[in-house]
């Protein structure tokens, strides 16, 4: 065969060589999730406003907010851990202490001790990362499941749990980092609840501005912020207040980590400022807010009211406001009126209702402590010591 007859194949050889060279030079795809820190970012309270709740009122409120005794409920315990922190000790073996509450979420043996030996494990391991068992409606083990997506992870971040912290599951030992990987891998922007994933991202992943989920979608902090701001507030958990909390946590972590673009930061500030203005207009003369706060007008005469909802809304709003920067704050009078109403409601509500609504009410107690920049465990132990 003459060499000239092979000329037609030359472009194919060139293409093959080019593609081979490209394959050799092509960079490997970047890792899906990059973590730069082992410790979560800490967000401290920034105000001390005694008129919102006096020391005596605070002690009285906290006295009522000890975790309920008896068989543990995961949702109640996660709220109790958020309120009291991991160090509190109530001196009552029937009531889980701070270390026991923390162990409930980190060690399966402790979980079984409090939730019952027959309770299915709270965590399961799968290739994408640890997975939390959700609380399924009408399931016999609903009480020991997690009610909100990624709220356990966000709480572990809030109480300062490092990523290397071992997580002893029934499937074997893993770490909090694996729980975070699972949450980030499974996260998607169409998710119904993403507030706690956003908080977990801020606590553990910042200053990284993006990650890739298990479907290959790149999630950026800008998209996350847009989701938190743009979706109908009424569809958010607890009247949309956890979205506001997530935005505030993002802002506060950005104060330390500087990962938000100026435009994104401004977007959050403008949004929170607008919400504050709504809250001023929507506050009832007594000081509380209802689910109608989004209308920006106080409750209408004759409107059906619900004390549980009012405590839930007022407590949650005061909670995020306690961490929010000064430029988005409503007038102090608004805060104080809300705080004082909350104190009275918390002190007057009967025990059964308080136990039943422990979660929302714990937000209210935590909000009061945040506005006084005090640690609830310290306040309670001080009160207990004075009582002795």
């Amino acid at each position: 065969m003459r060499l000239a007859s092979l000329r037609g194949l030359t472009p194919l050889f060139l293409l093959a060589i080019g593609c081979g060279a490209y394959r050799l030079l092509a960079e490997a795809p970047p890792p899906k999730i990059v973590l730069l820190r082992g410790e979560p970012w800490c967000v401290l309270p920034r105000y001390d406003l005694p008129p919102i709740a006096t020391d005596a009122q605070l002690r009285a409120v906290l006295e009522r907010m000890k975790p309920p005794a008896g068989k543990a409920n995961t949702n109640v315990l996660v709220h109790a851990l958020r309120l009291w922190g991991p160090t509190v000790d109530f001196g009552d073996p029937a009531i889980p202490s701070g270390p026991e509450m923390r162990a409930y979420f980190l060690q399966d043996a402790a979980f079984q001790r409090w939730a019952g030996a027959d309770a299915p494990p709270l965590f399961a391991l799968d290739p994408a990362g640890a997975r939390v068992r959700p609380a399924l409606l009408n399931n016999p083990f609903e009480q020991s499941g997690s009610v909100h997506v990624d709220d356990l992870l966000a709480t572990l971040g809030e109480i300062g749990t490092p990523l290397a912290q071992p997580l002893d599951t029934r499937d074997g030992r893993t770490s909090v980092e694996n729980l975070l990987f699972g949450a980030l891998h499974r996260f998607h922007l169409e998710q119904q609840e993403y507030e706690w994933t956003a908080i977990s991202y801020a606590r553990f992943v910042a200053p990284q501005t993006s990650w890739t989920n298990e479907h290959g979608q790149r999630i950026t902090v800008e998209e996350l912020v847009d989701d938190l701001i743009q979706h109908p507030v009424e569809e958010g958990v607890c009247g949309g207040t956890h979205r506001l909390e997530a935005l505030v946590v993002l802002l506060r972590v950005d104060d330390q980590a500087h990962f938000l673009a100026p435009r994104t930061r401004r977007k959050i500030t403008v949004h929170l400022g607008r919400v504050s203005a709504y809250l001023v207009r929507a506050q009832a003369p007594q000081g509380y807010w209802t689910r109608g706060w989004i209308r920006g007008a106080p409750p209408r005469a004759g409107e059906k009211l619900d004390l549980g909802d009012e405590i839930l809304l007022t407590g949650h709003h005061l909670e995020w406001l306690a961490l929010a920067p000064p430029e988005v704050q409503p007038p102090r009078e608004t805060i104080i009126r809300a705080g004082q109403w909350l104190v009275r409601a918390m002190l007057e509500v009967d025990h059964d209702t308080l136990t039943k609504w422990y979660g929302p009410f714990s937000h209210a107690a935590r909000a009061l402590c945040l506005w006084r920049s005090v640690n609830p465990a310290d306040v309670w132990s001080g009160a207990a010591a004075a009582g002795q």
Partner: protein
């Protein structure tokens, strides 16, 4: 075919030979002896085909009936036979069932198991490019220069742009159609297509149900030629003596016989003919008439305007068969958006020779014909274009680098990826109501564990089931009775467009929400005897429950 390809792509010698001598002062690029030389038209052809490949490969895999066809392919591969009834539902389907595209479904599934999602994107791009190449050859066979034929292939592709992202057996049908146009072009002067066209029709009858459209092309040519001959005072004898008429007659007969070479025989042919008359299809967007407001409509009506201009100015007389085809396929495209795919090939095939004739009359030389000498520099440019296409194209980038794209980037963003995952993870089985464009994906994702009330193969459903599907979609007051009647165990609700049903199901004590995101809600319908009251949402505390503690100074409200 090899001879055809070689002759059709060869640069025109007479022009190359008669090319004007380059000015002696102009710098001559040195020719590379070990590279073939390409003309401008050949380079343009490479660029057009590369563009078709690249643009098609950027389209993500559409979520509509692709998964439905892969479902059928998987079923056939697993059962080693063809289904004789709808395999994905146990009720609510019409008795008559011929699965015409079984071969493309099986090949598609086999290809997917071999090459994955990027492989499907590659198949889509390759099919679109091959269709463009076949049409280019058909235009060359009609006497167009290579440059003109490349332009025609590009025009045809632009006309199909609105539907280019849908990988479905129809693409195989379109390839066979383009080959039929090539065969028809050659049948006027040659008999070679009589040997390979039947093979095309055998493949076509098993790849897609559109083979009757190929018969329509051959018949139109036959009737058109016969009409012209008859108009010239011809007799039956002269008609039969006409070589073109004879060849088209034989070709049509052979093609009809070839069409019967399918698992259902003649029944398959009749079923294909009856398909478009299924009344349920009228409720599907792509089977509804074209509207000017859509991109497809704009493109279609632009071709109509151009046809008017060509009728007025073309020095080349419009042949009877051309008019028959333009009118027939034009009316078909007007009546159903989906027929635009065929119009986009028929129109350039007929119109471009007329456009070329106008241009040639004005310029005095062949339209878009290369006159410059072929050079190896163009070969290098063409190689670089192909290399850039392969590297840039999402279909081949993963193959070259060994890093295939993740699912979310390979499939269309409208694909119900997350709710599909939820169905699979929760182990949902049984009868499910879901939007029909989502249902195929759910069947695929759950390995046919869910049985959709309706999926994209709507022609398989009976009228009553289709009516019930529409009522459920609209969220009518008696939705729960309909769901019970249809034996539905789950509802997958598209929240944005089915708000009524979403709200009603959320309120119903017999419904239990298993999953919800911002796009969809998955609801379990509890059997009547097991239905439980919804979890109490009664307010936990009223003013009366508040203790009258001594510290209360003012009432709380």
């Amino acid at each position: 075919m090899q001879e055809t390809l070689a002759t059709l792509l060869r640069p025109p010698k007479r022009h190359a030979e008669s090319a004007p001598a380059e000015p002696s002062l102009r710098l001559q690029p040195r020719e590379i002896p070990w590279l073939p030389a390409l003309s401008r038209a050949q380079l343009a052809t490479v660029m057009v085909l590369a563009a078709v490949f690249l643009v098609t490969s950027f389209a993500r895999l559409n979520h509509t009936d692709l998964w439905g066809h892969l479902n059928f392919g998987r079923w056939i591969a697993e059962h080693h036979r063809l289904p004789d009834a709808d395999p994905f539902r146990d009720r609510g389907f019409s008795e008559s069932f011929v699965n015409a595209p079984w071969l493309s479904q099986l090949l598609g599934y086999r290809w997917f198991t071999l090459a994955g999602l990027d492989g499907l994107t590659l198949a889509n791009a390759l099919l679109a490019t091959t269709i463009a190449a076949a049409l280019l050859l058909a235009l060359r066979a009609r006497g167009l220069s290579l440059g003109g034929a490349a332009l025609g292939a590009g025009v045809a592709y632009i006309l199909t742009l609105p539907i280019v992202s849908t990988l479905r057996p129809q693409l195989c049908g379109e390839l066979c159609f383009a080959l039929t146009l090539l065969g028809a072009s050659q049948l006027f002067t040659r008999q070679a297509p009589l040997f390979w066209l039947p093979a095309v029709f055998i493949a076509w009858a098993n790849l897609h149900g559109s083979a009757p459209l190929g018969i329509a092309v051959l018949l139109a040519c036959l009737v058109g030629c016969g009409y012209e001959q008859w108009g010239r005072g011809g007799t039956l004898k002269t008609l039969l003596a006409d070589e073109a008429i004879f060849r088209f007659g034989i070709a049509t007969g052979l093609a009809l016989l070839a069409m019967t070479v399918n698992p259902a025989g003649w029944r398959g042919v009749f079923d294909s003919l009856a398909f478009a008359h299924n009344p349920i299809l009228s409720g599907i967007t792509e089977w509804q008439p074209l509207t000017v407001s859509s991109l497809s409509g704009v493109l279609f009506f632009m071709t109509l305007l151009l046809t008017g201009a060509l009728l007025r100015y073309s020095p080349r007389p419009f042949r009877a068969w051309e008019v028959i085809l333009l009118v027939g396929f034009g009316l078909a495209a007007l009546s159903a958006l989906r027929m635009l795919a065929w119009w986009s090939m028929v129109w350039p095939w007929i119109a471009l020779p007329h456009l070329a004739a106008i241009c040639e009359r004005r310029s005095g030389r062949a339209w878009l014909e290369s006159v410059a000498r072929p050079t190896t520099l163009r070969t290098l440019i063409a190689t670089a274009v192909v290399f850039a296409t392969l590297v840039w194209s999402p279909a081949t980038h993963g193959l070259i680098t060994g890093n295939p794209r993740p699912e979310a980037l390979a499939i269309d963003s409208q694909t119900p990826l997350l709710i599909g995952d939820a169905l699979a993870q929760k182990g949902i089985t049984g009868r499910v109501f879901a939007p029909l464009d989502w249902a195929d994906y759910f069947v695929w994702k759950t390995h046919a564990a869910v049985q959709p009330l309706i999926y994209s193969h709507v022609h398989l459903a009976d009228q009553g089931t289709w009516n019930d599907y529409q009522k459920l979609t609209a969220g009518v007051a008696e939705w729960l009775e309909i769901a019970d009647y249809e034996g539905l165990q789950y509802l997958v609700i598209r929240r944005e467009s089915q708000r009524g049903l979403d709200a009603a199901a959320s309120r119903s004590p017999r419904c239990h929400i298993l999953y919800r995101d911002q796009i969809a809600t998955l609801v379990e319908i509890m059997p009547i005897e097991k239905a439980v009251a919804p979890r109490s949402t009664a307010r936990p505390s009223e003013a009366s429950t508040i203790r009258a503690a001594g510290c209360a100074i003012v009432p709380l409200r």
